[in-house]
């Protein structure tokens, strides 16, 4: 068979490529770092790797999963993103690190429930940050690029200088309330309570109690209860009570640095006068709240609010997306306003502390599993950089109303316009008539960055004296069960506040080996 020069050269070239390519392509567990010449090449140095990211089922992760092709195009890597309930993430990560398998090279490290127990099983990200073979993200990854102390909260534990995770998302609690209902019923409220029905940063928990009493007694056709709380056993319940207890005298369970936590927390403060009084008052507020409060977590409380059963709900910024969706929520269409969580009532403070607008949160981080193969860990760091980058966080904010952790995004002029409904960029939606009896109640637009509506109060809430970040302790998951279980018994009338607080103290101190 005649082989012409062109065919011969083509064959030679293909053969040469096969030879070179065969040397370059290694097994996925033993990749060779390719020589790089530019930032683009640094992103592609682990081309062909396959990563697995075990994440909580959060809006940012959903948005990233939807746009993951851009990461794949940038790096040439593949990634499987598994989304689970936070408890399941904790369970699977815990089993994996105990077995030292490294099945999840990347895992979602929520500061207290996952980070505190497992941070020792995460890589120290500082070694990758100082490695010149990795690309440098826009703004970098230093403390000053993240929101106030977010890196401390999610990345640093118990005085260890190691950085176990970078901030990936956040859930900051603000008060969401129906300003339309407040305007509608203010006269009636004023006639009974001598003050207008308003919610401001100076609104105290006693004011909230009055509002709850008012709505429950009135039993209006368009709203039954003043407030939905989140008392469900577990982290939801712990955060819920913390917003109340910290507001009154900045009461904390332990006497250690709340930003970094403690491995040996020592005796707790439960059972002191302030804790007992706070629990008594919390029980009183709960008695006027939505009746499913002891079983509501953030989703349950949100459901109570968006179905119009409650006039107010303290909830996390990411829920603004659902609240503002007129197809799902009767509170959409401009009916909801967002403000700081309630302030402590000064007459309910006996420990000499301040009354503050206690704001708590969960800062989700993204960590690298130390038991994964070395090359895979390095590849994972590229995903960490991409997922926590300015560009990705901005994309998530605009796509699904995410919760960015970089200061620059919060300071962005376009984002700051979105803090306020009147100036927020809007997007068109299919018209929805909010009130079937009112033809003018048609909603055709919603804010583009819905969660940004909560950023105004959030940026005040995450600063001292309002913010409460802890308690970061290794046995956090068991502690919150003890706490919420006893609080439930008090709220249900099975124990008095004093009995419940003393029981928490006894069990918690025993848990930490305090005699």
């Amino acid at each position: 068979m005649f082989l012409n020069r062109r065919d011969f050269l083509k064959g030679l070239g293909l053969g040469g490529l096969a030879l070179v390519g065969g040397n370059i392509v290694q097994s996925k567990l033993n990749l060779t770092q390719l020589a790089y010449a530019s930032e683009d090449d640094k992103w592609k140095q682990f081309k062909g790797s396959k990563l697995v990211f075990m994440s909580e089922d959060t809006p940012p992760t959903s948005a990233i999963k939807a746009k993951i092709q851009s990461f794949k195009d940038l790096t040439g890597m593949d990634i499987e993103i598994i989304q689970e309930h936070l408890d399941i993430v904790s369970e699977k990560v815990g089993i994996d690190v105990r077995a030292k398998k490294g099945a999840y090279p990347l895992f979602y490290s929520q500061d207290k429930p996952v980070g505190a127990p497992f941070y020792k099983h995460a890589e120290d990200l500082r070694k990758y940050a100082s490695d010149p073979t990795f690309p440098k993200p826009t703004d970098g990854v230093g403390d000053d690029v993240w929101c106030y102390r977010f890196l401390d909260v999610t990345g640093r534990f118990f005085g260890d200088p190691k950085i176990a995770a970078y901030p990936y998302d956040n859930a900051i609690c603000v008060m969401m309330y129906r300003k339309d209902l407040f305007e509608k019923y203010t006269k009636q409220f004023e006639s009974e309570y001598g003050k207008p029905l308003r919610y401001t940063p100076d609104t105290t928990w006693k004011d909230v109690l009055d509002i709850c009493k008012f709505f429950k007694k009135a039993n209006f056709p368009d709203v039954k209860y003043g407030l939905a709380l989140q008392g469900r056993e577990g982290w939801g319940g712990q955060l819920d009570f913390q917003r109340f207890s910290y507001a009154h005298g900045q009461w904390l369970e332990w006497d250690f640095d709340d930003w970094f936590g403690s491995e040996k927390p020592g005796p707790c403060r439960w059972g002191d006068e302030q804790s007992i009084l706070s629990l008594e008052k919390y029980k009183e507020v709960m008695s006027y709240c939505h009746p499913d409060t002891l079983t509501n977590d953030w989703s349950g409380a949100n459901t109570a609010y968006i179905t119009g059963l409650c006039a107010m709900v303290p909830n996390y910024g990411e829920f603004a997306g659902v609240v503002e969706d007129p197809k799902q929520s009767v509170a959409a269409g401009g009916r909801t306003a967002y403000e700081l969580d309630p302030k402590g009532e000064p007459t309910w403070i006996v420990n000499g502390g301040k009354a503050v607008n206690a704001t708590n949160y969960g800062i989700g981080g993204i960590a690298i599993n130390r038991y994964s193969k070395p090359e895979l860990k390095k590849a994972a760091y590229l995903f960490v950089l991409w997922a926590t980058s300015y560009e990705t966080m901005m994309m998530v904010l605009k796509d699904v109303g995410g919760t960015p952790d970089r200061k620059r995004i919060w300071e962005d002029p376009e984002v700051r316009k979105a803090f306020v409904r009147e100036t927020a960029p809007m997007k068109d939606i299919e018209p929805v008539q909010m009130d079937k009896n009112d033809p003018k109640s048609i909603v055709t637009k919603i804010p583009l960055m819905t969660s940004a509506l909560t950023f105004g109060p959030s940026e005040k809430g995450i600063l001292p004296p309002n913010v409460v970040a802890g308690p970061k302790i290794p046995k956090f998951n068991e502690y919150i069960q003890i706490q919420t279980s006893e609080i439930h018994k008090c709220v249900a009338g099975i124990k008095t506040a004093k009995q419940a607080c003393l029981a928490i103290k006894e069990k918690t101190d025993k848990l930490h080996g305090v005699k």
């Binding site: 815990g94 497992f118 499913d292 002891l294 068991e478 439930h488 009338g493």
Partner: protein, 323 residues
């Protein structure tokens, strides 16, 4: 004649010396050898984990890198004696299986009797079996919606007819009548009964097909009414079937946490935190594997003892002929 073997008698054929393997082979029946591969696999997946669980229960397990598990002997077991959550879990577990099993056995048997031999029996069976096909976690979500104060049908119905005096089902922690479990607990029970009564129906219907018709006819001829027929003919013939149904359901019932996980997470006020759920918390939320293994071992003992009790209760008393 030459002496061939010590045991050989002069003038007789010699006895062959068998190898150890040949002796074992001859001692064990042939079907044992056929089952051996399966036995080995089952042993690997049950016996090994069983002893591993016991080993774990005697240690305080470590989670941090570089730390080792510490031998504590019976320390994990002893600590359970004054563990309020453990004791509460045991109490609730007893309530849970007694109430669930009682309702499911009675209701399941009644439904089976109702549809057995009737026109459309097969269609009824298909419809009745449908809840059993739903994954328990989905049942949990279904009932969380049905009980929801905002829009749940069950909540609305029970409130409307005045059956429910509280404003909530799943957040109701007070004991009913002062000593029974809470309304939230009964909410979980209803979900369990809805899902698993069909299993009892299925087993009992199969058992009813085996009731000798000649005994039924003879009893009818003797003038026995429906109740006498059931008590004196059907029920005695169903004993072994009911035993199987009861044991199967009991063994599942004391392990399930799926519905509780979704509905209440063990709350409110620990009123639905049955022992298996507490076991799950200790092992997979607190990662105290030693304590969890101790609870697991005790739960296993509990199941074995109760299963033996069931067998004894249902065992037929054999009549020994006189003379």
């Amino acid at each position: 004649m030459e002496k061939i073997a010590d045991s050989a008698v002069v003038g007789e054929w010699p006895i062959e010396q068998k190898t150890l393997f040949q002796r074992i082979q001859g001692a064990l029946p042939f079907h044992f050898w056929l089952m051996l591969p399966t036995i080995i696999v089952l042993a690997a997946i049950t016996i090994y984990p069983f002893f591993w669980m016991i080993w774990l229960s005697l240690h305080q397990t470590a989670m941090d890198p570089g730390e080792k598990d510490v031998w504590v002997g019976l320390g994990n077991y002893i600590s359970l004696l004054d563990d309020e959550s453990f004791l509460n879990g045991v109490k609730l577990l007893l309530w849970y299986f007694v109430i669930c099993l009682s309702i499911e056995m009675v209701l399941g048997t009644a439904v089976a009797l109702l549809i057995n031999g009737r026109k459309g029996e097969n269609l009824f069976i298909i419809l009745i079996l449908m809840p059993m096909m739903v994954a328990p976690i989905v049942v949990g979500y279904l009932y969380s919606y049905l009980y929801n104060v905002s829009f749940g049908w069950y909540f609305w119905f029970l409130k409307s007819v005045g059956f429910l005096r509280t404003d909530t089902i799943l957040a109701s922690a007070q004991p009913v009548l002062g000593f029974l479990p809470s309304i939230a607990f009964f909410g979980v029970v209803v979900a369990d009964v809805w899902e698993w009564t069909p299993l009892i129906v299925l087993i009992v219907i199969a058992g009813l097909k085996g009731v000798p018709q000649d005994q039924m006819e003879a009893a009818r001829v003797d003038g026995a009414g429906s109740f006498r027929l059931f008590r004196d003919v059907t029920l005695p013939n169903l004993r072994s079937v009911l035993l199987i149904a009861g044991i199967l359901r009991f063994m599942d019932n004391v392990r399930y946490i799926d519905t509780i996980y979704v509905l209440t997470k063990g709350g409110p006020a620990d009123s639905t935190k049955i022992l298996p759920f507490y076991l799950y918390n200790i092992s997979f939320r607190y990662f105290e594997f030693g304590r969890g293994a101790a609870v697991g071992f005790l739960l296993l003992l509990f199941i074995i003892i109760l299963a033996m009790f069931f067998v004894n209760v249902f065992k037929k008393k054999e009549v020994v002929p006189v003379g």
